[in-house]
């Protein structure tokens, strides 16, 4: 019991530390590009200590998000505060349950739509208006680590059949980066939960 309490206290401390320092760190990242920052013999102590603090913060962040996965109490405490969900009495508990079910179903629907869209690419001929054609990628191409079929001679020939031209650009319908896509799904999930809570 004592170990559990100590562990919980450490988790709460880390979460509060991350909460208060994250805006400063994220703002600093926007103005300073860590990729271009090099530690040399002439670097000031301030720059070196800033880099060390950033690394410590990042390690704490990684540990924290993994603890969210494995610690139910931390997950409940942190995420209910972050998502502004409250369960003060039995009625709110019931509403929360109904909203959670509706959110679960709507998020699955959203993910299915994204999954289908990920198979579709639009072929566009530069200099000409409108969509020339589309290719539905094979499942093996979408899930494999190799380049798309269009990079091969066979793929180019197929594209020519669909587009009727020899010059083409390929655009994926789902052209978001991985981070943006995950962020979109997260925001959709949270928004869906709050909308469903209001409905009930």
């Amino acid at each position: 019991m004592t170990n559990t309490n100590l562990f919980s206290k450490i988790q709460i401390f880390i979460s509060k530390l991350l909460l208060f320092t994250s805006p400063l760190i994220i703002t600093t990242i926007f103005f300073i590009d860590p990729g271009k920052t090099q530690v040399t013999n002439n670097s000031s102590m301030l720059a070196i200590s800033g880099l060390i603090l950033f690394l410590l913060w990042f390690i704490l962040l990684i540990c924290f998000v993994f603890s969210l996965l494995f610690s139910k109490s931390t997950r409940t405490w942190i995420l209910t505060k972050l998502t502004c969900s409250s369960e003060n009495d039995e009625r709110e508990l019931q509403i929360s349950g109904k909203a959670s079910k509706a959110t679960f179903l709507s998020t699955i629907s959203f993910l299915l739509v994204l999954f289908i869209l990920s198979f579709i690419s639009i072929i566009h001929s530069p200099g000409e208006k409108g969509m020339r054609g589309f290719i539905i990628k094979k499942i093996s191409q979408t899930t494999s680590l190799k380049s798309t079929e269009l990079a091969t001679e066979k793929g180019k020939a197929k594209a020519q059949i669909y587009s009727g031209t020899k010059n083409y650009d390929e655009f994926s319908v789902l052209s978001l980066s991985k981070s943006n896509l995950i962020l979109l799904i997260l925001l959709f999930h949270i928004a869906s939960y709050h909308i469903n809570r209001r409905r009930y």
Binding site: N88, D89, E90, R91, E92
Partner: protein, 74 residues
């Protein structure tokens, strides 16, 4: 009474009980351990309290539970 499988329309006279004791919705909510919104929902008939909450309300008003919550015949 109709079929037991059909949805029962449970009514209550919580408004009357509260008026008799001259309590506000917020005060009643604090006494029975729920939010004011829950008291409003019960009074309007939008929410049926659990058995525990219904008994808590009855004990608080010192009345029999069936004097507060009842099924109205169609």
């Amino acid at each position: 009474m109709g079929s037991l499988l059909s949805k029962l329309l449970i009514h209550n006279n919580l408004v009357v009980c509260r008026a008799e004791t001259k309590l506000t919705q917020q005060q009643l909510a604090e006494h029975i351990g729920v939010t004011r919104l829950t008291v409003i929902a019960i009074e309007k008939g939008n929410y049926n309290p659990s058995l525990e909450l219904a008994f808590r309300i009855a004990i608080f008003f010192k009345k029999d539970i069936q004097n507060i919550f009842f099924i109205q015949n169609n």
